[in-house]
Symmetry: C2
Subunit: 163 residues, 2 copies
């Protein structure tokens, strides 16, 4: 699977699936560097005990994503530069129909938001995907749910209920 090109769909979670706590999970914190354009995102991330810098370019269905592992000391040095835009969430990996659904339960100021991401290795496969009943409204490509956008805002996007 070509990690450089991300094909994914994203949904709001209507209700947590049964047994969700049993699935593997990791704590994620992300801080975003202040970019002049929304077309490029650069973030540092701690996921469990690993640390990364990630650069994303382009928008929508397909976008460039380069994730580079860095040491914890580098992460600690860079973290203060992201003061204005951070996010914290717990990610559960839930197997479904040959895919892995990444369910993110947001914390802190974004508490109440729960989303699900599914990555695909081709556009046809992404189109063929049939979501399980616990997923709600599709929010693929919706900028207000992009972590980089959420991170800059306090609180939740308007009207996440009724999904």
């Amino acid at each position: 699977m070509n990690k450089d090109l991300e094909i994914e769909r994203k949904f709001l979670v209507k209700g947590l699936p049964s047994g969700w706590k049993r699935h593997a999970s990791s704590q994620i914190v992300q801080g975003y560097f202040p970019m002049a354009t929304g077309e490029i995102e650069i973030r540092v991330r701690r996921r469990g005990s690993q640390h990364f810098i990630t650069i994303k370019g382009g928008q929508g269905h397909k976008r460039l994503e380069e994730e580079i592992e860095i040491s914890e000391s580098r992460f600690r040095a860079l973290w203060p530069l992201t003061r204005a835009a951070r996010i914290s969430k717990r990610r559960y990996k839930i197997p479904f129909d040959g895919h892995t659904i990444e369910m993110d339960i947001y914390q802190g100021t974004h508490r109440g938001l729960v989303t699900a991401d599914i990555e695909f290795d081709s556009v046809p496969k992404s189109r063929a995907f049939e979501a399980p009943e616990w997923l709600g409204r599709e929010i693929t490509g919706r900028r207000e749910y992009a972590n980089a956008v959420l991170a800059r805002r306090q609180g939740l996007p308007r009207k996440i209920k009724g999904s």
Copy 2:
């Protein structure tokens, strides 16, 4: 020497020092990501056959600098995102009085500009440094000579002659 914290002085070059072509040199190209603030710079760089992503924060005499080596394929993937701000130069490493002077001869739209950087491992040593006669006006901390700023502009800073 702590590479995280950069203490350096920067000068314009009045005249190329005798024998400058004999010193080790490498070709450098740098592209900058569009940041919302001048206080943070993120760039990709090719130096000879090596590739890096570098993040700088803070300003002036001391600043955070994290340089992360990346593969050539990552560099090629990221390079298009820096379209609006690039620089190209040849760097010569010139030993002088126990220091290494990095002399940068700019190319392309910045042709005609030649600068020299010297890094120090302490502020007292940076103050004690006596520049050789071929160095001209000191431009330490001058934003208009920062590569990130030059990269966004066509041509040279005003009045680099008479240095």
